[in-house]
């Protein structure tokens, strides 16, 4: 029994020693792999955007896909977004896979499909963040700017990042941008941030490194306007002639709620 205890103690000691020996250099290597120059630029960007009362931007989203016959195709969606903190938002998306307008004026939200000329509208919480939570949790609705307005974005972006570096400078849509690479298990993301005082994102690429093929989703942002038109009309939804109001089908419900 004593011999067994001794052997166990020895084994434990060796394991602990190994763990200590291993953890020191590994931890150091990980933090060394995250270049503070890259994280500084990312943080500067999130702070700059977070400080804006209102803005508008055009985005071009490209989703790489593989067809059933194993051909690579790209699907595109253009969006135009206007945000006026704390309680107004409008987005319009047009493209291969979606045509939709979303309008929120601090009191109600409206979702409109111009193709079918149908819309739904609901009372909504008083702030954009409340709206995003409500839309997602109660209506199953994803509002296309959630990322723009949530808290703690920098910390969330940096979560599990084990490699970060500055690739260099390039020009996107005529704007000189710093090119950053961040990596975490299964996902790489590249961010291009405008050089100079206005640290706006120029482009964003997310790559699934956990699957063969390394499919990416690319977003190019252009026409940033930090003093956009935020008159009431922008955030007011007026159903077009002949548009039909339809209900939301809430998550878990078996029938549509009354419109």
């Amino acid at each position: 029994m004593n011999a067994l205890s001794f052997r166990m103690a020895t084994a434990l000691f060796v394991l602990v020693a190994l763990a200590l020996a291993a953890s020191g250099p590994v931890a150091a290597a990980q933090s060394a792999a995250v270049d503070p120059a890259a994280t500084r630029i990312l943080e500067r960007m999130t702070e700059y955007l977070g400080g804006l009362k209102s803005f508008s931007v055009n985005t071009q989203l490209t989703i790489e896909d593989v067809t059933d016959r194993d051909h690579r195709i790209d699907l595109d969606v253009s969006a135009q977004v206007t945000i006026d903190r704390p309680n107004r938002l409008r987005s319009e998306r047009r493209g291969d896979i979606t045509e939709q307008t979303f309008v929120y004026d601090g009191k109600s939200l409206a979702l409109f499909n111009p193709g079918e000329n149908v819309y739904a509208t609901e009372p909504a919480p008083a702030t954009i963040e409340g709206l995003l939570d409500y839309a997602r949790d109660s209506l199953g609705l994803i509002v296309p700017v959630a990322d723009l307005v949530y808290h703690n974005a920098y910390e969330l972006l940096m979560q599990d990042v084990n490699y970060a570096t500055v690739i260099g400078k390039t020009v996107i849509e005529g704007v000189t941008c710093d090119h950053l690479l961040f990596s975490r298990p299964g996902v790489d993301f590249q961010v291009w941030v405008a050089d100079g005082d206005k640290a706006l994102p120029c482009k964003y690429v997310v790559t699934d490194t956990g699957q063969p093929g390394w499919v990416s989703i690319t977003t190019v942002m252009s026409d940033w306007d930090v003093t956009p038109d935020v008159s009431d009309a922008v955030f007011r939804f007026v159903p077009p002639e002949g548009a039909k109001r339809i209900p939301f089908m809430r998550p878990g419900a078996s029938t549509p709620s009354s419109p």
């Binding site: 931007v57 499909n113 079918e116 149908v118 949790d137 509002v143 723009l148 949530y150 878990g252």
Partner: protein, 139 residues
């Protein structure tokens, strides 16, 4: 077309992706916040891989479940929903959700509600999340 339908499932998620996040002054963060851009977009990619027969991790099962409630494909009943008996022989169960209507439907307004009358079924239009769907209903 099949592939397009697959993508439709996650289009609303992917559309989110287009900008990196912003910090706004304030305290705390929404409890259920996810890093939407990466996590959901990539989950969508993985789901598609799954449909193509590639082995996938646990992330995909969650996203598949989400997708099936977000936008069931044609003639596929939404899962985990109570489904009363059909109103007529041969009719689909009430609450069946489809993303496209069958052929040969006629619009019909009953009690101030517009239906699409397709054979023995009556469909109402509704938004299920960001997706326009048609739900079998009892007029």
């Amino acid at each position: 077309m099949k592939q397009i339908l697959n993508i439709l499932l996650f289009a609303p998620l992917a559309a989110l992706m287009f900008v990196v996040d912003i910090q706004v002054p304030g305290e705390g963060q929404p409890p259920s916040f996810q890093l939407v851009s990466e996590a959901q977009a990539i989950a969508g990619v993985r789901r598609r891989s799954f449909r193509r027969g590639v082995v996938i991790g646990s992330a995909a099962s969650a996203s598949s479940a989400q997708a099936s409630t977000a936008a069931p494909t044609q003639q596929q009943a939404a899962p985990a929903q109570p489904q009363p008996a059909p109103t007529q022989p041969g009719a689909l169960p009430i609450g069946t959700v489809v993303s496209t209507l069958p052929a040969g439907c006629a619009p019909m307004t009953i009690g101030n509600v517009e239906y699409q009358h397709c054979g023995v079924d009556y469909y109402r239009s509704a938004f299920q999340g960001n997706n326009l769907v048609y739900v079998t209903s009892q007029p």
